[in-house]
Amino acid sequence: MLASVQWGLLPGFTVIGIALGGIYALAAIGLVLIYRVSGVLNFAQGAVSMFSAFVAYQVSIVMGAPALVGLLAAIGTGGALGYIIERFTIRPLAGRSALNKMVVTIGWLLVLQTAAGLIWKDTAYHAAVRLVRPSGFTFPGTSVVVGWDQLTTVVVALGLAFGTAAVLRWTTFGTSMRAVADDPDAARLWGINVNRVMAVSWIAGSAMGAIAGVLITPSINFDPISLTIVVIDAFTAALIGRLTSLPWTVVGAFFLGLAETYPRIFSSNAGAGHAVTFALVLLTLAILFRPGARLRQRITAGRDYMPVPATGNAPLRRLVVGTALGLGILVPLLLSGYYQYLAADALIVGLIVLSLVVLTGLVGQISFCQYSFAAIGAFTVGSLVGGHHWNFWPALALGVVASIGVGVLVGIPALRLSGLFLGILTIAVALFFDNFLLAPGTWDSFSGGISSWTVGRPSFLGVSLNGGYAFYLFALGVFGVAVLAVWNLSRSKTGRVLRAIRNSEIAAATSGVNVTAWKLVAFGISAGLAGLAGGLLAPLIGSVSAGAYSFQQSLTVVAIAIVVGVRSVAAAAVGGIFLIFGPELLTHTPVSTLWFPLIVGAILIVQVILTPQGVVVDWQERLRKRFPPGPRFPGGSEAPTRVLEIELPEREVVNV
């Protein structure tokens, strides 16, 4: 019975798989075009698609216009968004590293996603615009019904892919696009209007994303988040196409769709989560085994770096830290229990920002999965304390060790990847956690399944941490120790080595630095800090469930860390306060807390653009003139700087 059932399902599931592949292909085409021509991995592609689809919804469903009109409105919106993003927020970044541009697109992702949620409500409950009827025809020879809309999606995907490939190959404009892709400076010298070419690629890519959005939304949950997630599958498909070949991207997309669908034949728990795992595994493989030299990577024209001032002014620093500490101890005494809770939360989140300071600030590796490491800490504590009645402290220790271990594991594939692809890998890890590891049915004794773990407050050295202030003080202590440790680290030999790796991996290697081992150390420390934070969040909140450790959270914390300044250890506290008290501040204004991610995204975009080295160096110089530096420490120590660059080793080895 089982065997015959499975074979019988195969044709039907093949149709599902190919339809799904069509969706991924559609989502990927615009992404590939934009990357190919402008070298920017557009994280906001899904958000642009989603926003345009919502515009179509507004026009066709809410206002009742015909579906085609909605589609045109969507295309217009998509193109306009693409132009705006490129012209005003990418073009000013010319000469900066590709990662900076990627960070800007992340800002746009937050802005667009939140805006859509605010305008159209952040729920899955929107009727999609149907361009084509969902009814279909029976595939000859089987009992499978192929929907006209599914067929349309596949056909449009193929059409756009091959059409774009043809344009790139055989038209003059396409040739200039390829020239710009290869070397914009040379192209400029040849008289090609590089700005126009870039703009066109973004407009076209976004418009195609809009078409994708409208065609895809009937088949998925039509909410502000889902399309962004679809983009991850699109990334995988694009990577299979080596981010340059559109036909191969389509092939990759179909392969992915089938690979995600077939396992559902065997799983009786028809959960959505399991399927995405395959996307992620494939993503990882695609990144890892991509041929390094053949993928086009921009060789940055200019170097971005943030010079580390030789020393800070010790007395000034002591004054600032002392004051902050004093305020930190005294002020919460006067706050309500709820605010004490928020303050402790802010410090613990500050630990996560600190983990990014280590990874991104020191080593220059970006990570979008810090909350997944935190989840390891949290769920270890949750399952051991809540499920097996362990004492909190050994559970916490185990959680930290486990997260260090996982951090190193994630670091291993990361070693071969440069900034951009490392970022994608960490997204894959985050989604892996969200959709598989922590999803009900996979490892319920760890994740708690569909229930959450309950964790009570422990006692520390005999003092109960039940009270709001008690726990807060404890969190302050942990945070202070962590900050001190990381600060020591940054001033020390380790800090030097990590920074050297960031500046020039190859020179570090040939100077005797075991780059692999050091990077893994950095990952381990970073993941350990995040795991510690998660382990502390468990008793703070009192309950552990996956929703609090999602990819969205990781994304937001990266955005905030960049806004606050990743190179500064002091940034960690500010970042935590910003993330927790920011929404709190909003409740006192007429503006709803739902605006918070949008505000963060907007600040992020502006921050990345408006931070030319000159101004910050200028500020530092002014500070240094005002407060002359004191005695030197070995290795140099840094004064906290507010707003900083992210810079990554982009250059591949230059051959010959």
């Binding site: 039907g12 599902i16 959960g271 605010y339 229930s451 709803s592």
Partner: protein, 490 residues
């Protein structure tokens, strides 16, 4: 020029951070409303001045960090955490979500007055200044949209407030978004407690109700309404206004027998309360010899049901019995329609009007929802719109939250009932002090309340409460739901 802009921008950054710090300072400098937490069942004395002891911890045990009731330190209340706004229609002054106990309004004395025996407000339990504040936890964002349940409760409060309130009190609901996540639900519970709500009135949190009911009970907070998860029938402080989902499972199973469903494919939502419901449903079907060909559990985020349909077809299912959230049905039906799979459908909670429109979009005469059967423990609203109780309900929502009118369904009716039950209890308290204890006593004393037949009569009594056991069958005739039976009781 760019430099200048950048400098300005960075200055703004610094200013913003300082502003956040300032907001915190502002918070503690200005007296807010009560933030104290209560241990279960303890009565709170009325305090003679606008000062309250600082309350520590919101989680776990409660203790007062200053050790006495006469400490002059003023605590700050706050909103935040989840997204919470308070508004109850026309009668509230500010959107800041708290009342400051320093103000007087409409002649009511501030919490500074004590009067034995006479009405006294207790700011620590959501009663202050002539306003009763209650809380609600709703999955407002995420795969489920429960804002309509929130607004239903608010509609009733607005109605009551417009008529002068209840016993001179105005009503206010603070909501908190549980985001379809148990941790967020827990944080909501903590936050609402710290804001000192009198009770939870109306909640719809698929992920949170089962886990937070024991927590709230432990904190002494009465709960009225809810989805009907098992935990709500196991607490003396929980006052449900619907039959338990386990009862509904039995009911639907029995209905399956009556309809003589053959070889059903069964779908259940993956939720932390679903297991006993599944059990009762399958057991009831077993009694008449029906056993399912396939049982699938799905997540609320599942977008494409084609694979489920294909499996059902391959397994030879001749009917579909489902218990998922209203939003998932549309996607199920879409897959069924595409695959030309039109067996009889039995489902719980199928009657959401706006969902119906989605179910029915583009499928012409072959919509899967046509001919479907469901059950409801309250009068089917669209079918009884002229019954006075139903008319009042529809009119109120239409008046105060017209945008939500299309989203009404059986679940929203329970919340309306919850609001009504709450108000009735307040009425019953009469001139006495309003606090959690007196509220619970009044609720326990409710007998045979049926709001003009909207529901079967509700009688609580002391101890755990399980007042309702009856449902009516409804059937979908070409898009309209019609009641096809009287009350069937289990």
């Amino acid at each position: 020029m760019r430099e200048r802009v950048a400098i300005v921008f960075m200055t703004l950054n610094v200013v913003a951070t300082l502003a956040i710090g300032g907001a915190i300072a502002y918070e503690f400098a200005h007296p807010g409303h009560a933030t104290a937490t209560q241990s279960a069942g303890a009565t709170v004395q009325t305090t003679p001045a606008t000062s309250q002891p600082t309350a520590g911890g919101v989680a776990g045990q409660v203790h007062s960090s200053s050790g006495g009731t006469s400490a002059p330190v003023v605590t700050a209340g706050g909103g935040g955490g989840g997204s919470s706004q308070t508004s109850s229609g026309s009668s509230k002054p500010a959107s800041t979500g708290k009342t400051s106990s320093g103000k007087t309004s409409s002649g009511k004395t501030s919490s500074g007055k004590t009067s034995s025996g006479a009405r006294t407000s207790d700011p620590q339990q959501g009663v202050s200044n002539g306003v009763i504040t209650v809380g609600g936890i709703f999955d407002e964002t995420g795969p489920v949209d429960a804002t309509v349940e929130r607004d239903t409760v608010r509609s009733y409060f607005d109605l009551v407030n417009a008529q002068g309130g209840v016993n001179g009190y105005k009503l206010q609901l603070i909501d908190c978004d549980s985001k379809y996540d148990p941790s967020a639900a827990h944080q909501c519970a903590q936050k609402l407690i710290s804001e000192g709500v009198l009770a939870i009135v109306g909640w719809l949190s698929l992920s949170g109700e089962q886990t937070e009911t024991p927590y709230l009970t432990g904190q002494g907070v009465p709960i009225i309404g809810g989805l009907g998860v098992p935990a709500e029938y196991a607490s003396p402080l929980s006052f449900p206004t619907t039959p338990s989902l386990v009862t509904e499972g039995t009911a639907l199973g029995t209905r399956a027998c009556e309809l003589k469903l053959k070889s059903p494919g069964v779908i259940f939502l993956n939720a932390n309360f679903i297991a006993p419901v599944e059990q009762s449903f399958l057991n009831a079907m077993k009694k008449c010899g029906i056993s399912p060909v396939d049982v699938e559990t799905v997540d609320a985020t599942k977008a494409d049901y084609t694979d489920v349909v294909l499996k059902f077809q391959a397994d030879g299912a001749q009917s579909v019995a489902a218990f998922v959230d209203p939003f998932s049905y549309a996607r199920l039906f879409q897959a069924m329609e595409r695959q030309n799979f039109h067996p009889p459908v039995l489902g719980g909670g199928l009657d959401k009007a706006s969902a119906n429109a989605q179910y029915a979009s583009g499928c012409g005469s072959t919509c899967a929802v046509f001919g479907a059967d469901s059950a409801t423990p309250v009068l089917e609203y669209l079918d009884h719109s002229s019954t006075p109780a139903v008319a009042q309900y529809l009119a109120a929502v239409h008046k105060f939250y017209p945008g939500q009118y299309g989203a009404l369904d059986t679940y929203t009716t329970y919340q309306w009932l919850a609001a009504e039950v709450f108000v009735k209890a307040i009425e019953d308290i009469g001139n006495g002090p309003v606090n959690r204890q007196t509220l619970v006593t009044a609720l326990d004393g409710i007998k045979a309340y049926s709001d003009g037949g909207l529901t079967q009569p509700i009688t609580y009594g002391s101890g755990n409460h399980d007042p309702l056991h009856c449902l009516q069958w409804i059937h979908n005739y070409n898009g309209r739901w019609k009641t096809t039976s009287g009350w069937n009781c289990f």
